[in-house]
Amino acid sequence: MSPYREGARARVSTVPILRLGDVLVTGLLGELDDSSALALAEELTARIAQDGARGVLLDISRVDIIDSFVARALMELSTMAQLLGARVIVAGMRPPVAITLVELGIELTGVETALNAEEGMASLGWRQSDALPAEPRA
């Protein structure tokens, strides 16, 4: 029914997905089109299973709009990840995007969020080490 589905299947996401221990880290760009959003969601779901990831950090600090389509992709990704035993944290939403989503009537049900990537990583169990490497003395 949707004209997107076929195209999305043929495409592979061009966004890099990094693996830090049992967490996958990636981000969305401002230029995100629908097929790329779906491709990334599919690729992340596959990588969760393949890598045995327990968490996914999705940085959206460069995304300048989230409409109902991208919101739905985020909710579906969260649900799929949950079914695979992983948590998705969407981090760094811009305030205008948050305001607009509320007015659109979208609550991103089931999607965990964090103020920024650092906070998101912290809730996934990653803490910044207190013991910084000693600086070389001049």
Binding site: M1, S2, P3, Y4, G7, E31, D33, D34, S35, D64, I65, I66, D67, S68, F69, A71, R72, R94, P95, P96, V97, I99, T100, E103, L104, G105, I106
Partner: protein
């Protein structure tokens, strides 16, 4: 809908659906035929709102509304056209978005802007949500002929 101080022309009559397209001479049209067009029109709306002096939050509102409208035309209307119409009038500065398609139309246009209404795979927030992001919002639909959505947002409200 012609406002005082606005130079509207009615030359854009859509013969197929039988409604008058009301846009000013400053309006520019963009095709909505492919998925890539969705991105192109988003950029065009962003540029237009920026040029008209909309705040960042208002730019985001208008671009998001435009995205919902053109996607609706693309998915349900088999493609269409977006008109971006900058409004510089005595009453203020604003932007008018007109999206037309020649799709199957919406049987009950009033129902379509109620949250949760969907005939496709979306959330059903598309039109209802877009309506809340704009100051005025009108849907004209003729079943079997097509749909025209007109939405305006002003900078100073």
């Amino acid at each position: 809908m012609t406002h005082p101080g606005e130079e509207a022309h009615h030359g854009g009559e859509s013969a197929d659906a039988g409604w008058a397209l009301e846009t000013s001479e400053a309006a520019r049209s963009y095709p909505v035929r492919t998925e890539a067009d969705l991105l192109t029109v988003r950029h065009a709306v962003r540029d237009a709102t920026e040029e008209l002096g909309f705040s960042l939050v208002d730019q985001t509102r208008v671009v998001t509304a435009a995205s919902e409208l053109v996607r609706n035309a693309y998915v349900h209307g088999g493609g269409g056209t977006l008109f971006i119409d900058p409004l510089r009038q005595a009453r203020g500065v604003g932007i008018r978005l007109v999206v037309t398609d020649e799709g199957p139309g919406i049987e009950d246009a009033r129902q379509a802007i109620v949250d949760g209404f969907t005939t496709g795979s979306g959330l059903g927030h598309g039109l209802g949500g877009a309506r809340r992001l704009m100051h005025t919002f009108e849907v004209h639909s003729v079943p079997g002929k097509g749909t025209m959505v007109t939405a305006v947002r002003w900078t100073d409200r």
